[in-house]
């Protein structure tokens, strides 16, 4: 039963990174969009992401609930030592979710739109940054449950080069997912050329920041490079991800909508899988080396069993309706203004 729960946790995180990531990326893209294109981009974002965006963010709640029910010590250790970035991420989540809906449901289109747009775009940037930073901090090996000083206990675990670079990398991935996704929606050649250009930019940015993560892991002595590159499975996965990126680059403009989307999803899944495989089953690497893993922190017995049942029963309801939702609204076409 523990494995059922672990699979759901991985699935929830993966879905959140891909669907939620594309969602965040749409906001990040707006920062880099010139004013004349912006309203077209906003309309496209709303049309394609609007119907499913609420559901996208449910994955985060599912992941959190799995953590605190099934792996309480992981949840509380993160909550205590990464209190500050978690709180900042929450501010981003609040700002983004509300601004997205407010800007659409405000009955009047006036200067308030600027306020909503400002909040929406910047919180789209802040939220995945801190989300990535938290992931990075969990495995950076700087969390020290014994620490006494404020800085050692609550700042240093996340305020380090490695965690910050994972944060930046996550932002790049979100922009990458969103721009590739939107390529398929653009019909007008001018818009399409623009989105393709952005997609290429974000591919470059993703590769560069990926390199930054490796560089940071060497500087901060996070044992990542050495281990990643000695395990055949992780090497294989990363090679596949690289090949997929190249294929994506070549097919971006002419390839079919589903091919490029599939490739972009594959790239992100492969990166996550390589990291996941590398660290499994550890989720928090501590300074002392007494890591918190999905095995040693699991609430074995009835809590995990009932959680597994609740997740399985829930997915019987959720997954078909979610797919039907995605299917029903996939035909949305980009609104092109004259």
């Amino acid at each position: 039963m523990l494995y059922v729960v672990i699979i759901f946790l991985c699935l929830a995180l993966l879905m959140y990174v891909i669907l939620g990531g594309a969602d965040f990326g749409a906001g990040i893209l707006e920062i880099f969009t010139p004013a004349r294109m912006r309203s077209q981009l906003q309309d496209t974002t709303y049309k394609t992401i609007g119907p499913i965006w609420e559901a996208n963010h449910m994955w985060l709640i599912i992941a959190i609930v799995i953590l605190f029910v099934g792996f309480p010590s992981i949840y509380t250790t993160l909550s205590v030592h990464l209190h500050i970035p978690l709180a900042l991420m929450l501010i981003g989540i609040i700002g983004r979710g509300t601004a997205f809906v407010f800007r659409h449901y405000d009955a009047y289109q006036d200067d308030m739109q600027k306020v909503y747009n400002f909040i929406f775009t910047y919180s789209s940037f802040i939220t995945p940054f801190f989300l990535g930073l938290i992931f990075g901090a969990a495995v950076a090996g700087q969390i020290d449950p014994e620490a006494k000083g404020f800085y050692e206990a609550y700042i240093h675990p996340w305020f380090n080069f490695f965690s910050v670079s994972v944060g930046i990398f996550t932002v790049a991935i979100c922009g990458f997912l969103a721009s590739v996704f939107l390529v398929g929606e653009a019909k007008k050649s001018e818009v399409k050329a623009f989105v393709v250009r952005k997609a290429k930019l974000f591919i470059v940015f993703t590769v560069l920041t990926g390199g930054l993560v490796f560089a940071a892991s060497i500087i901060d002595e996070v044992p990542l490079v050495g281990l990643l590159l000695t395990e055949w499975i992780t090497i294989g996965t990363l090679v596949l991800a690289t090949l997929a990126i190249i294929a994506l680059w070549l097919n971006l403009k002419e390839g079919s909508k589903s091919l490029v989307r599939l490739l972009s999803g594959f790239v992100v899944t492969a990166i996550l899988a390589a990291f996941g495989y590398h660290y499994f089953p550890d989720l928090i690497i501590t300074k002392s080396g007494e890591n918190l893993s999905l095995f040693n922190s699991a609430a074995i017995g009835k809590p995990i069993d009932t959680l597994a049942w609740a997740l399985m029963i829930g997915s019987v309801f959720i997954l078909p309706s979610l797919f039907y939702l995605l299917y029903s609204f996939q035909g949305n076409k980009m609104v092109e203004k004259k």
Partner: protein, 443 residues
């Protein structure tokens, strides 16, 4: 500001904020579905306009409820890690089921909001009903989790360890039913009266009266029926906590000394030092009757508990008085509404009648917040009743007050923006209808 106090304030603020939005997001879909049903049955376009107008409200409130709920799922750990470390696996069941219900709600809302003219009308209507039903289910489940804190069950507590955990037994704790019943009715009452009040105001302003009258009728029917059922649910709750959490009941009633034929204390100013209540109205034996169904029964007072385990009496007592007082006013208004529907139909067009409902707009929500104050402050100093103290659960990180200040600023501005948006939505309703009338004329 002490960290414990700051953490409690932040939690209270977050919950107090979330509850309003969650209630509206849970109840308004039923209004929306009712109006939608009327539209499909009668074909009257006013009902379609109303459904659409309300669905915008639902979207705004749903998202605010969803983000504040996401926030809470993190705050439980950010503020109370020691509590979550032990409680998570035990009372997690309602949360994992709630995740499902909430997910379904989000999916159904996607179908509903974006589904006009896309799906068969009755399928579209059905998705709106699913929004309401799953919202209601998630509300009940979250209250069940709170019920567990008031009435912990599903584990054995041996020498500070939580053993033999049974999450299903924890879900069906003794408090869940009475609390969920009371809260569900409260949500319908508060939302019904709030929505009815706003539309009553629009009727008074004299524009699009047909539209607002239809809206008023749907909202008040839900609100008034719930308000009339609420005293029964309140009585069930009172009898329940008299046995299960006597300290809370004692604090609600400022009942300091255990006594037989205990009087019901209405109003008054509790003096916690002197352990007495000044300037109160006392009804002899009534507390014994309400708590145990017998005018002579013994009601346990605060003297049966060590002083360090007393909840703050004054706050709980005042909150309880406010809740009951406002509840009674709403019962009165509900009776007035039904009486006028039955005998004096013409009253409903008169301005005094409408003003009464306008004035009642916020009362349900004030009562609801007061009720939660009774439940939560009345549980203090325990976070898990008689198992874990709130002060032992708080996070070790210092400077929580800064977090409290920041989140207060955020919630205050969010509340401001939502009110502003709602004001503009309501203001724009006639405008959109007018545009439609124009368009109809042109075509």
């Amino acid at each position: 500001m002490e960290d414990l106090f700051a953490a409690r304030s932040q939690m209270a603020l977050s919950l107090g904020f979330h509850i309003i939005f969650a209630c509206i997001g849970m109840v308004m879909p039923f209004f929306m579905a009712t109006s939608h049903y009327k539209y499909l049955k009668t074909g009257n376009p006013l009902y379609k306009d109303l459904t659409k107008a309300w669905s915008k409200g639902v979207a705004i409130f749903f998202v605010t409820g969803a983000v504040s709920g996401t926030m809470l799922s993190f705050e439980l750990g950010l503020l109370w890690p020691e509590f979550m470390l032990h409680a998570g696996p035990i009372f997690g069941m309602p949360f994992s089921l709630e995740g499902t219900a909430f997910f379904i709600e989000a999916i159904a809302l996607g179908f509903f909001l974006y589904g006009w003219d896309r799906f068969k009308p009755w399928f579209h209507w059905f998705t709106g009903v699913v929004v309401g039903v799953s919202g209601l289910a998630s509300g009940i489940l979250v209250v069940a989790a709170n019920g567990w804190m008031n009435s912990p069950s599903g584990f054995e507590y041996v020498e500070g360890k939580f053993l033999n955990i049974d999450p299903v037994a924890a879900l069906f704790n003794e408090a869940w039913f009475t609390q969920a019943l009371h809260m569900t009715l409260a949500a319908f009452t508060a939302t019904g009266f709030a929505v009815a009040g706003i539309h009553a105001y629009m009727i008074l302003k004299g524009k699009y009266i047909d539209f607002h009258r239809k809206a008023f009728t749907i909202a008040i029917l839900f609100g008034a029926v719930a308000a009339l059922l609420q005293p029964i649910s309140g009585d069930i709750s009172a009898k329940d906590i008299a046995v299960r959490q006597p300290a809370k009941l004692a604090a609600m009633e400022a009942h300091f000394e255990t006594s037989k034929a205990a009087p019901l204390i209405i109003g008054g100013i509790p003096d916690e030092e002197a352990k007495e209540v000044n300037y109160a109205i006392e009804i002899p034996g009534a507390l014994s009757f309400l708590a145990h169904g017998d005018f002579e029964a013994e009601v346990i007072g605060l003297d049966q508990f060590p002083e360090e385990h007393h909840p703050p009496v004054a706050v709980v007592h005042y909150a309880f008085q406010i809740m009951v007082g406002l509840g009674m006013i709403l019962v009165g208004l509900s009776l007035l509404y039904f009486f006028s529907t039955w005998k004096k139909k013409n009253w409903q067009a008169q301005s005094w009648f409408l003003w009464l409902f306008v004035l009642a707009t916020p009362l349900g929500f004030i009562a609801l917040e007061a009720g939660w104050t009774v439940t939560e402050v009345g549980r203090q100093p325990w976070i898990i009743y008689e198992i874990m103290l709130t002060k032992d659960a708080v996070t070790p990180i210092p400077g929580i007050k800064y977090s409290f200040f920041i989140f207060t600023a955020i919630y205050v501005s969010l509340a401001g923006i939502v009110s502003f948006l709602l004001y503009r939505q309501i203001k724009a309703v006639p405008a959109t209808l007018a545009q439609k009338t124009m368009a109809n004329v042109e075509s």
